[in-house]
Symmetry: C2
Subunit: 333 residues, 2 copies
């Protein structure tokens, strides 16, 4: 359990400043007060005052995604959501789920029985039990990277894959690459299908060659590179887009093992910009999703649904972060 | 200039209650206080206190759209935007524009010279001068029914045409119709092209016949019906979707003139649900856009951009409002 001192240390301010921030004293700036509250939420520090009786309950269901430490993809999404939810007087519970968990009780029943007024779903797969129930639920629900048609109680939040992938391909073309592959995420995920389509659209628009063989599926893990890299290299691919930064790290490793250097022989681009991306060798060029903003936008979209504003979809812009894993295409080998 | 008494009359409360609401007195409910402030904004009543010096300036540029009275399409969009902007401490100026106005000064220059920190653009056409400048502007800008690629300072807000048009077509199929036309809005508008695609997608998905001739363009005015209705009737069309409620009102008039009854001979569906829709004879079935919520979501999206959250797109769900202008398809003539 975090203490006031932990918050003070994290922010580099005195314990009495933290105390003022928590108690709403007038003689610290609004900005600092908000930083104190945000950090208290992040560290799990709550006072009785902060747990007022009139706070409404939300939950975040999370599946297929790591979120426990700041290095992991889900951490900032959940943190951003919780920080803004707290400001708007909601309590948030994070509930890891499995397919088995979903089969034990219907979604609506679970929500009503536990007094949750809305939920944010992160990392669900299309074949999950609850996904089919979202078409008819009456509970305000926001899905990260999934989309449900025609139910005004459900909305979607995510990053625009089409712009991100086109930005990456345009960057690679500027470096002379034309044989560009995509090692995608998992099958059966809406976002993988979207990125596959984004790759097809962009390669078509720029008159670049592609086929099923240049866009295999991985599983969002570094090991996915092993299975595909030999085939891609033998096809003459000189640049590889990856479904996330972990796959990209595996691609760099596999290229090295086979005597190809990144970026001199092969350019590699990741997706997400998790903290590891900047620390790889070479530091990874990647399509950044701002996960903290995704979490915050997820909350605001849910807050809108709870207030009967039927938002269907909120999309954020990606940002291509240029580091050292892409370079001019080498002369023909 | 509105007075306190105008606000009191509109809300059906006493002048002293309005006064308490405007002055932030503690003995009226938060809900009533908000209603007083919302009405003050609607009627243009402001006190010196409400025009505080620290308020930031936004503007709404409006073109090709009527908005002066509650019956008109733009009125609620602007009202919703202004009401929530006021709560968040922004002042809003509404500026009607023309192509000529846009050619007199660059967008960024105009904004900076006048001290506006962001803008909401309503009713712009694709060929407008400023539209091309939005690709590179650094000013937070939200477009209603237009979309700019890859600029993180610009976002889009609108209603999901694909769901609305599919809902309408599914409703008509349930009534036995298969020969369904779309009299669309103006050419050169993003939203008309989107609805044309939505019609094509939905007709294709449901194996219904269509061609260029079944999806002509109108101009968002009632008179657009005159040009097309004869041709559509001669092709055996039994149901007509319209780009807005005004076109639908023209379709009803034209059908009557030619001896066809709505809905017994021809079913008609509008788009938007402006106040006139419920008062037509017969009352119009229409695809509702909640314009007040569009205005509010427009503000919140702009507020996000100003705070460096790179939202790309916010979409709202449409709602098919069933009235009396659709009916079971008549037996073959």
């Amino acid at each position: 359990m975090a203490t006031i001192k932990d918050i003070a240390n994290r922010l580099g301010v005195s314990v009495s400043t933290v105390s003022k921030g928590l108690n709403g004293a007038g003689d610290i700036s609004e900005q600092l007060r908000q930083a104190v509250l945000d950090t208290a939420v992040e560290l799990g520090y709550t006072t009785r005052q902060m747990r007022g009786k009139d706070r409404r309950k939300l939950c975040i269901f999370i599946e297929n995604m790591d979120y426990e430490t700041p290095e992991q993809f889900g951490y900032d999404i959940i943190l951003g959501f919780r920080q803004v939810a707290f400001r708007e007087n909601y309590d948030v519970t994070v509930i890891p789920v499995t397919p088995l968990f979903q089969s034990t009780e219907k979604y609506d029943t679970y929500m009503l029985r536990n007094g949750y007024v809305g939920a944010f779903m992160v990392g669900f797969a299309l074949q999950d039990d609850w996904i089919s129930q979202f078409s008819t639920t009456g509970i305000p629900t926001v899905l990260f990277d999934n989309y449900i048609k025609k139910n005004p109680c459900v909305a979607s939040i995510g990053t625009d894959s089409f712009e991100g992938i086109d930005d990456a391909i345009v960057h690679l073309m500027g470096l002379g690459h034309s044989r560009i592959a995509l090692i995608n995420g998992s099958r059966n995920s809406m976002i993988s299908e979207q990125r596959r389509q984004a790759y097809i659209d962009s390669m078509t628009a720029h008159n670049l060659p592609f086929s099923d063989a240049t866009m295999p599926y991985g599983y969002y893990v570094a090991d996915a590179a092993k299975e595909h890299i030999g085939n891609l290299l033998s096809m003459g691919i000189t640049a590889i887009l990856c479904g996330n930064d972990l796959i990209a790290s595996g691609v760099i490793t596999e290229c090295n093992l086979r005597g190809y250097k990144v970026p001199t022989d092969i350019s590699v681009i990741g997706f997400d910009d998790i903290p590891i991306a900047a620390k790889l060798n070479p530091p990874l060029t990647t399509i950044r999703q701002d996960r903290c903003e995704l979490g915050k936008s997820g909350f605001y979209t849910l807050h809108s649904l709870i207030n009967h504003v039927p938002i269907s979809r909120t999309l954020l812009r990606p940002q291509l972060v240029l580091r050292k894993s892409t370079a001019l295409k080498a002369d023909n080998p």
